[in-house]
């Protein structure tokens, strides 16, 4: 019995560690907390750079979470909060950058590459289809890649 209890406590320890890492903020209600979590997960910590504001333990992430929380409490919209942070830390803080001329390559580059690849494949397939009846199979497989 005692052994089982010890195991149970050991199993619960990680939960305690997790609870400690979160900055306790006095949310008014569950909806506000969900909104805060969602928003801070979309924002990037300027210091550690590959962590969201929600995950990071850097001092600046702590301060920015506090700032976001206070702005939510003050009735600011998500867009207003994002604009506030972009004005100070540039678009770097957005995990999802806006679609605008300077980010077109980022947004559409992969699709353009995919289309270019598809075009190359299509051309190759057509060319081979045209060649197939005239050339013998043995020659074809050795010469082409």
């Amino acid at each position: 019995m005692r052994r089982a209890l010890v195991w149970l406590i050991l199993c619960l320890l990680p939960v305690l560690a997790f609870a400690q890492a979160i900055q306790p903020l006095p949310f008014r209600d569950r909806a506000e907390e969900v909104r805060f979590q969602k928003l801070s997960a979309e924002l990037r910590c300027p210091m550690c750079q590959n962590e969201t504001l929600a995950d990071s333990n850097a001092p600046i992430a702590h301060d920015l979470r506090r700032q976001v929380f206070e702005m939510i409490q003050a009735g600011k919209s998500d867009d207003e909060i994002k604009t506030y942070l972009v004005d100070r830390y540039s678009q770097f803080v957005l995990y999802k950058p806006p679609v605008e001329p300077s980010t077109w390559l980022l947004w559409f580059g992969p699709a353009v590459l995919l289309a270019a690849g598809a075009l190359v494949v299509a051309i190759q397939v057509r060319r081979r289809a045209r060649q197939a009846p005239v050339s013998t199979p043995a020659n074809d497989t050795e010469d082409d890649w």
């Binding site: 210091m47 750079q49 301060d63 920015l64 100070r88």
Partner: protein, 180 residues
């Protein structure tokens, strides 16, 4: 010709990766280019370190360009940067405003007693709120603010002799050219 195509594709990739490596040696991945450059510095009003009743605000610093150096006693890189502030940066002749970022006043005073004080005045931002307005995310950081209160240059990380010669001196030369 079509036999050579894979080779070209390979060379293209080599070129791309080579460019990536070169780019990373030229650029600091941790540096976020501040959107505040060439914009008015945010308005602030902060107490002077060690004299909590006296405050310094943006308006009181107008009229003359100055450096704003973000430092803290907990900041390791600041120790490495400090000798540069004490000598080379000081010799540039501009006032250096110390921005004591998220620091304990006593620890900051002790740190300055140990390493020397190159600052003309030091403002204390204990909770880091003014730091957010300036887009500060670590220390050390250094701003160059012109006589009209516009941020002209920002260094993220310590000022090294190289940074001084390649970035700060040209920025100052540009300022001097504008002045009547």
């Amino acid at each position: 010709m079509s036999r050579l195509l894979p080779l070209f594709a390979f060379l293209l990739l080599v070129g791309l990766f080579g460019f990536g490596i070169w780019w990373n040696t030229q650029h600091d991945q941790h540096e976020i280019v501040s959107p505040l450059i060439d914009k008015p510095a945010p308005a602030f009003s902060l107490p002077v370190l060690g004299e909590p009743t006296r405050t310094v605000d943006k308006a009181s610093l107008l009229g003359k360009p100055y450096f704003l150096n973000v430092f803290a006693s907990w900041c390791i890189e600041c120790v490495h940067e400090h000798p540069m502030l004490m000598t080379d940066v000081k010799q540039l002749g501009l006032p250096i405003v110390g921005f004591n970022y998220k620091d304990d006043p006593q620890a900051a005073t002790a740190w300055l007693a140990e390493h020397g004080n190159p600052f003309d005045v030091i403002v204390a931002d204990r909770d880091g709120r003014t730091g957010i307005d300036f887009g500060v995310y670590a220390a050390p950081e250094t701003f160059l603010v012109d006589a009209k209160g516009v941020i002209r240059y920002k260094r993220i990380g310590p000022i090294t002799p190289e940074v001084l010669d390649k970035e700060i001196r040209p920025a100052l030369a540009a300022l001097a050219k504008e002045a009547p």
